[in-house]
């Protein structure tokens, strides 16, 4: 916003041009323009299968290899090997590649680039990193101070989990904001029971449009023309597999933190027979509370998984609906909203993990208020 006035004027004209172009794309105000018309695309909860991206995986694996050689660190090789495995999986094991896996590879690549930039900056000896690595360093410093304030001496153990979850969720959430995500893909025949749309050839690309008025009456013909758009890339957190995996990792690490800090004494939280015979009534209550703790651990998995999934999936649906109601410009405001939702959900996921882990290291007495989360 501190640009020179000239640039701002330029940006204003560009915005106006984009608005006019989008009006011309969707309508025909003066008998001129594409006049695609506005439809509400089909929303599907499970990730859609798409063709595998073998070439892209090869490029990214080569990139990780080059980084590994440049930095003389072995970790890049793991990354490269992982990408190669991902590329090979669909060929040999009948593994169906999905569009959220593509999003996962994109997030990995972004994080790999950031990691490379930061390691390079530190290796070159500059104590004050600049640019994107400086921003990430500031974010990580905030995260570390937060962890240290909550977890004390266990901060060094908890911090990598907190930071990695936050960074991964943040990058994958923001990848939803890239133009083309959720909107560029392959046109496929609609599966049974799904209302499809006709296809219109635009010359450079094809798009789904409302079926012509004549075809609507005849059911059989409309069925023949039913196509749905399967996007190449869909936001990673709209896939339950990702959020459930993260939630499992978080909850398992909470248990690991508890065991590492308290040893086997940690399990008395769940199987509390210590006071059963000394104080008969309260002992039984304590035992039942211990059983409830087990339930609460499982509810944590559900809560983690569905919070992230619900927010991001609802955001995607919201963008679809707004786009189909007001196709011109209105989506921009909701993209802004999604920007903040993605940031907040990333921080909340990481911070809850950190808080649970810190509480697990502190033993009895303080784990009642989070039982309902």
């Amino acid at each position: 916003m501190t640009d020179t006035p000239k640039k701002r004027v330029w940006g204003r004209w560009a915005l106006l041009a984009i608005i006019i172009l989008s009006i011309l794309t969707f309508f025909k105000p003066w008998g001129f323009g594409l006049g695609i018309g506005v439809i509400q695309p089909h929303v599907q909860l499970p990730a859609e299968p798409v063709p595998p991206i073998t070439i892209m995986l090869g490029v990214v694996a080569a990139l990780a290899l080059v980084f590994s050689i440049v930095l003389k660190r072995v970790e890049g090789l793991f990354m490269a090997a992982w990408f190669v495995i991902l590329a090979v999986l669909p060929l040999f094991f009948g593994f169906t590649w999905t569009n959220t896996l593509t999003a996962m590879v994109i997030s990995d690549t972004v994080l790999l680039l950031i990691a490379f930039a930061i390691y390079n900056a530190f290796k070159s000896g500059s104590l004050v990193p600049k640019g994107i690595s400086g921003a990430v360093e500031a974010l990580l410093e905030v995260i570390y101070n937060l962890t240290e304030g909550t977890a004390g001496k266990w901060a060094r153990f908890i911090f990598p989990w907190f930071a990695t979850i936050t960074l991964l969720v943040l990058v994958s959430n923001w990848s939803e904001l890239i133009p083309g995500v959720d909107s560029i893909g392959v046109l496929e025949h609609a599966p049974a029971g799904v209302h499809g749309y006709a296809v219109q050839d635009l010359g450079f690309a094809e798009t789904i449009v409302k079926a012509p008025a004549a075809a609507e009456g005849e059911h059989a013909e409309a069925e023949a023309e039913s196509f749905v758009l399967v996007p190449y890339v869909r936001a990673l957190a709209t896939d339950l597999n990702f959020t459930v995996a993260l939630a499992l990792i978080a909850v398992v690490m909470v248990q690991v933190a508890g065991i590492r800090s308290q040893g086997t004494r940690y399990f008395t939280k769940f199987w509390n027979t210590g006071t059963m015979f000394s104080k008969p009534i309260f002992g039984v209550i304590d035992f039942v509370v211990g059983i409830l703790e087990i339930v609460s651990e499982f509810s944590k998995i559900l809560s983690f998984a569905f919070r992230l999934f619900g927010n991001i999936f609802a955001g995607a649906v919201l963008l679809f609906v707004i786009g189909s109601l007001v196709p011109v410009f209105a989506q921009a405001g909701f993209l802004m909203l999604e920007f903040f939702v993605g940031l907040i959900q990333a921080i909340v996921f990481g911070m809850l993990t950190m808080t649970f882990m810190a509480q697990a290291t502190q033993g009895h007495g303080e784990h009642h208020e989070e039982a309902h989360a």
């Binding site: 992982w82 996962m104 990691a115 990580l140 989990w161 339950l240 597999n241």
Partner: protein, 244 residues
């Protein structure tokens, strides 16, 4: 599960992906940044320690400085006292010299003024005499010739009659010095006359002359501690007391 899209294979892929990302990020990002944080904290701790040492050193230095300052102040006050005393002596000397000088200058100025006045009054004497004669001639006609009038007037002003001082005739007192006061300055011839007469009669060693117009005419001669009043004003005073 099917409709939710949940699948153990995908979950495992995500878990592996997370693990590998975690390793890369720990090695490439977190360790350097935590190292930097540690270094920064160590630097800050070192800085605080340095600051504490510096503060101690400063406290010591301040005490030292206070001591030095006290000594310096004592020294300074001593020097100032001495200087003040010396200056007072010097001032006294200078003032005395200045006063002497001033007195001398005043004396000279007074003498000059006296001489000047004497000269002016001497000049006046001729004019007064001429005016008086002219006025007297108008009043009494040409009873007296002009030469006679001049002689009379000279006698009136100088109190000297045919080579003798009028007031001295018939008196005999001696003194070491004599002062002669006249209403108008005497001519040098008259002064010589008066001087020789006084020296002869009183045995005085020196004679000084003074002019005081308030006596109107004649002479007042002070010899030692005696005063011979031969002045016109004295005579008028006597006349007044007689008439009363």
């Amino acid at each position: 599960m099917e409709k939710l899209g949940l699948n153990l294979g995908y979950i495992l892929v995500q878990v592996f992906n997370f693990a590998i990302l975690l390793i890369v990020l720990i090695k490439w990002v977190y360790q350097p940044i935590l190292g930097l944080l540690d270094k920064r904290r160590a630097t800050i701790a070192q800085g605080l320690e340095d600051a504490r040492i510096a503060a101690e050193a400063r406290d010591n230095a301040e005490q030292e400085a206070a001591k030095i300052k006290a000594a310096a102040q004592a020294e300074a006050s001593k020097v100032v006292r001495e200087a003040t005393e010396r200056a007072e002596v010097a001032v006294k000397d200078v003032r005395a010299a200045a006063e002497a000088e001033a007195a001398k200058i005043r004396e000279e100025a007074k003498t000059d003024a006296e001489e000047e006045r004497t000269r002016i009054l001497g000049d006046l004497r001729g004019q007064v005499a001429a005016l008086s004669i002219a006025a007297a001639q108008k009043l009494v006609g040409d009873a007296l010739d002009e030469k006679r009038q001049h002689t009379l007037l000279d006698e009136f002003f100088s109190g000297v009659k045919s080579g003798k001082v009028v007031v001295l005739s018939g008196s005999d007192f001696k003194g070491a010095s004599a002062e002669v006061v006249s209403a108008l300055p005497l001519t040098s011839a008259e002064q010589d006359t008066v001087k020789t007469d006084i020296l002869a009669k009183t045995g005085a060693q020196a004679v000084s002359f003074r002019v005081d117009p308030s006596i109107l005419g004649g002479l007042v001669i002070k010899v030692g501690d005696k005063v011979l009043d031969g002045s016109v004003s004295g005579k008028l005073e006597g006349l007044r007391s007689n008439l009363r």
